[in-house]
């Protein structure tokens, strides 16, 4: 807390946070979007999946402030008469579920492999780091598309819609674990050579316990920074894959799927169906990125 220290040099993470308008604004926007996605079923004015409630008479209504807008549909409706605002809230929910899951899995696996590679060294280290090099040398989008293509070939046609979300999470996590693994490996090597680890070893602690209880807490801050920045990247990757038609199906649309659907009707002048999901996506990614930037500067970890 900063209240005891001099006000010009804020102390502690919270003090720095309160002192930075950039951090506060971006965190507020990100939090607002994440919460509205989490509570979508309660705050959305309509249910975008209840096909029976759609009325074709309501289709392609412009946003409420434009001529011909309807107060029931704040951001207008799509070609089927679906409320755009509700579709965005539910879509953002899907995008964020994929994003958080991909980040959790890649952070977990990457940190674990990084700890092992850094602590054990030897062939395990060599193999893992070569593998990470190969993955890092190819663009995310290409690897994700390949994973998605292979999944389509292997999974039965009828189950593909149901598995789409897991395939997406895997496709994104496969790219992102490498960053955690590399950074954690470097940090672990540094920590392992320090006296407190030697002391723990001499006192006869098991390796697993040293890693989990002594080294891990000391290398968490770069992991947190990478995870925050990667949440934005994961949401972007998900949106891109869904836009390309290999992500979430139309029955369970994410923001990317909504943009894809809107894009198909762009020429009929129905701009609001594509612009609002796109603006939401950019706001979400921008706020998360800005917050991640601030967090990186504030925690100032050595990123490998």
């Amino acid at each position: 807390m900063s209240d005891a220290a001099s006000p010009s040099a804020p102390v502690g993470l919270w003090g720095q946070f309160v002192a930075s308008p950039k951090a506060m604004v971006s965190a507020a926007i990100a939090l607002f979007l994440i919460l509205s996605a989490a509570f979508a079923p309660w705050i959305a004015p309509h249910d975008p999946f209840a096909l029976g409630t759609f009325n074709l008479m309501d289709s392609e209504l412009p946003p409420v402030w434009a001529e011909g807008g309807d107060p029931r549909f704040l951001l207008g409706t799509d070609t089927q008469g679906r409320d755009v605002l509700s579709a965005i809230l539910y879509g953002m929910r899907v995008s964020l579920i994929v994003g958080f899951a991909a980040v959790a899995i890649s952070a977990g696996i990457g940190t674990l492999l990084g700890l092992l590679a850094g602590f054990r060294g030897g062939w395990l280290d060599a193999v893992l780091m070569r593998f990470a090099d190969v993955i890092l040398s190819f663009p995310t989008i290409l690897i994700a598309l390949l994973v998605s293509g292979i999944a389509r070939g292997v999974l039965p046609d009828t189950r593909q819609g149901a598995y789409a979300i897991y395939v997406l999470i895997l496709a994104i996590a496969i790219n992102e674990w490498t960053q955690y693994a590399r950074t954690v490996r470097g940090q672990t090597m540094v920590e392992a050579s320090l006296d407190y680890v030697k002391a723990a070893r001499i006192s006869g602690l098991a390796n697993g316990r040293i890693l989990a209880r002594h080294i891990l807490p000391n290398i968490l801050s770069p992991v947190i920074v990478i995870a925050t920045i990667n949440l934005g990247l994961a949401v972007l990757a998900e949106a891109t894959l869904s836009f390309l038609g290999v992500g979430m199906p139309v029955t369970q649309p994410s923001l990317g799927t909504l943009i894809r659907i809107g894009n198909e009707n762009l020429f009929s002048g129905v701009w609001w169906v594509v612009v609002f999901p796109a603006v939401t996506l950019v706001m979400l990614v921008l706020s998360v990125n800005l917050f991640g930037d601030w967090l990186r500067d504030a925690l100032n970890p050595r990123l490998g």
């Binding site: 598309l145 998605s148 293509g149 389509r152 070939g153 972007l236 836009f243 894009n263 762009l266 612009v275």
Partner: protein, 322 residues
Amino acid sequence: MLAFLIRRLGQAFLVVLAVGLLSFLMFRFVGDPVVSMSREDATVAEREELREALGLNDPVPVQFVTFVGRALQGDFGISYRNQRPVADLIAERLPATLELVFAATVLALMIGIPLGVITALKPRGALSNIVQGVSLVGVSTPTFVTGIMLILIFAVTLRWLPSFGRGETVDLGWWSTGLLTASGWRAIFLPALTLALFQMTLIMRLVRAEMIEILQSDYIRFARARGLPERSINYRLALKNALMPVLTITGMQIGGLIAFAIVTESVFQWPGMGLLFIQAVQFVDVPVMAAYLMFVGLVFVALNALVDVTYALVDPRLRVRG
């Protein structure tokens, strides 16, 4: 140097082999090639004949050797979806993608370098602030959103430029180009701009960082002390030296740009390799996916090896660790 060269090329060869193995495994085990290639009403005997003809009854290592041998001769099999040789499909689509990537690179350099110079020379100026703000939003905006917005503004609302296709192309025998017709130029502008934005930010930041560093170096201060005109210092001394790393990195990015073109090509229905690949992923057209993977893998490995070798030629310290 020779030892470095051999080690580096050996490494590149291993990566190519790994990519080849992945392509092969995909080709062999994702879906059943026999089912994908035979007619719906084919009898069991006919299928067995096809299986034998394709060599799918041979031991897997033998199949891999055959696969590599064929790939070296440019034979990647027949596309399941188009029923045409994959090599022909790729050769047909290659010019469109390369022209798009080339146009995007030129555009990115033409816009990125001046912006980088301006933000380096006047870091507190109004223009610099605008550029920094726009680039911040740009980094968080996915390519397909940029593309859609450009279409919405320039094709749907203003009706200035076409939103899909390559326009009229001229067939030069082995290369079909859209750069010789007016409609081709109009068609390439929006997709090239969309693809260029991805690189433009990078180039701008690089130029800016290099310029700022060079402007503080001793020889620039010496040039100032000698009373050389500001203009000459900024452009003839500083910019010239800042451009070398920029050009190298721009070159290295070309592989990424080819892969990144998948998204741009999809937004603008640009008939290049990326569109071919994304359709292959949608329809599980495995031979096309495998061939595209091999092609992009080869481009990447070749560019990376080229850059490493060039750097090692220039800086002997890099030769120690491969």
